[in-house]
């Protein structure tokens, strides 16, 4: 009987030790896990803050270049391209270490990290759209003739006919499609007005000639207004960029 009781007591002691052991190990695990999670969370916060500060630095830098009167425009465009790359790199690297941990989904900062990453991707995309638009607009502008008014009527018509074909063949990105078609329409209108003038001249049609002269002037004004159309289109892209930028900055402040 005594022996039996002694055996039972020992068994109970073993169980207790085992349970305590399990509890200790579990507690250690939880403490360790929360330690890792907490460290990852802090690192993520630092990454977001750093990315935000870097973005402001890069943006201030590119604005300094754009405003400079010493830097030629082609160099400014190259710097803008570099700025776009910088923003894309920020998007790739923000919370990178945290996103690679197995605890990422349970990190308290998970949502903020994801949001900041996505916002930086948006800023990269919208700045790339601005760069793409500007480079395409430069290509289109280079196709326009210079000092083209001293030629004869037929020569002028031929010149604008060639310009129309060049524009038509020019390949541009999605952002510059509107300005391309708007410019094409204006150039075609100008070319057609000169054609009317050539025709009226060959027919010696005085009323037709005078009407065509007026049409040429109107088409010229329409052509000139394309610079304003271009500015409006760039403004729209710039507004989009600014809104994405503000959204990111407010997120990272919060």
């Amino acid at each position: 009987m005594m022996r039996y009781q002694k055996k039972r007591r020992m068994s109970r002691q073993k169980t207790t030790i085992l349970v305590i052991g399990i509890i200790i190990v579990a507690c250690a695990g939880i403490v360790l896990k929360f330690g890792i999670v907490s460290a990852a969370d802090n690192n993520a916060k630092t990454s977001i803050t750093t990315a935000s500060a870097n973005l402001v630095t890069f943006t201030t830098g590119i604005n300094g270049v754009i405003a400079s009167t010493d830097v030629p425009n082609d160099q400014k465009v190259i710097k803008l391209q570099a700025y776009v790359s910088q923003v894309k790199t920020l998007a790739d690297t923000i919370c990178r270490d945290q996103r690679s941990t197995i605890y990422y989904d349970v990190l308290p900062i998970h949502n903020t990290c994801e949001k900041a990453h996505s916002q930086l991707v948006d800023i990269g995309t919208s700045s790339a759209a601005i760069y793409s638009y500007i480079t395409d607009e430069i290509v289109l502008s280079a196709l326009l003739p210079k000092g083209s008014t001293s030629n004869g009527l037929s020569d002028t018509y031929d010149l604008w006919n060639r310009t129309s074909s060049l524009l038509s063949a020019a390949k541009v990105g999605e952002e510059a499609n509107n300005i391309k078609s708007s410019l094409q329409k204006a150039v075609d209108g100008y070319r057609d007005a000169w054609k009317s003038l050539v025709d009226a001249n060959s027919k010696q049609d005085s009323s037709g000639f005078n009407a065509a002269k007026t049409a040429v002037q109107a088409a010229y004004s329409s052509l000139q207004s394309q610079k304003d159309v271009s500015i409006t289109q760039l403004d729209a892209l710039d507004t989009l960029f600014t809104s994405k930028y503000s959204a990111f900055i407010s997120t990272t402040k919060g």
Partner: protein, 237 residues
């Protein structure tokens, strides 16, 4: 009664002055704040002045405004008369001079596009066209003419014989031939008579305006003996 009027006037003057002073003060105070409140680009949060990178505006500026002269068929026909004369020791072939002047003045590429005809008469006429020895040039005008170039003085065109016989370094260097130079110099001086002043080259590789001093400097333009469309006007018509 008189004192009362004077007091009222003084009072009104004080009030008026106070209002003016207050307005000026208010404007001075508010102006800096208004300026500060005006929207400006934040260089830490936007791409400022990004539209300065656009180039369409510059390209548009380089497309000159259309300048369309009425074609000759749309203008009333006018006939001018001219006579040929010489001064000094002339070695050039005068028959050739006379023929070339007439051909130039009535050429379909020239001032005749203004619906003009130039008829030669034995003497007098609307203008006199001289072929003059270089040394005689200043006798027409000490300031307006030189021994180096041709010139126009009033209703008298004077072609410098040295230029007629050999053109100029500028012209020859630009690939022009003597026949074209002779057309050019007659058209250029006739242009002055028609009311034109000098022009400059509109851009490298462009045809020179007839009123450019092509004898002296082509300025990067191509030699051109005939008036451009944009030059087809005259104050004499």
């Amino acid at each position: 009664m008189g004192n009362q009027k004077t007091n009222t006037f003084r009072h009104m003057r004080t009030v008026f002055s106070s209002v003016i002073l207050a307005t000026v003060a208010l404007y001075s105070i508010l102006t800096p704040f208004s300026a500060a409140a005006s929207p400006s680009c934040d260089p830490t949060g936007s791409l400022c002045q990004i539209d300065t990178l656009l180039s369409l505006g510059d390209s548009m500026q380089q497309i000159g405004a259309p300048s369309i002269s009425d074609p000759s068929w749309l203008k009333p026909h006018v006939t001018f008369t001219y006579s040929i004369a010489t001064k000094g020791n002339i070695t050039a072939d005068m028959t050739e001079f006379r023929q070339l002047v007439n051909q130039t003045l009535n050429d379909a590429r020239g001032w005749s596009r203004l619906n003009l005809t130039f008829n030669e008469v034995a003497s007098g006429g609307n203008l006199t066209i001289y072929l003059a020895e270089a040394l005689q040039m200043t006798s027409f005008s000490a300031n307006g003419c030189s021994t180096s170039w041709s010139c126009t003085v009033g209703n008298t065109i004077i072609i410098n014989q040295d230029r007629w016989l050999a053109a100029t370094d500028s012209w020859n260097g630009g690939g022009g031939n003597l026949r074209d130079y002779r057309n050019m110099v007659v058209n250029h001086e006739t242009g002055h008579w028609l009311g034109h002043n000098h022009l400059h080259c509109s851009g490298p590789g462009q045809l020179a305006p007839i009123m450019q001093q092509q004898s002296i400097d082509l300025e990067g333009c191509k030699v051109n003996p005939w008036p451009l469309d944009s030059e087809l006007w005259s104050t004499r018509l």
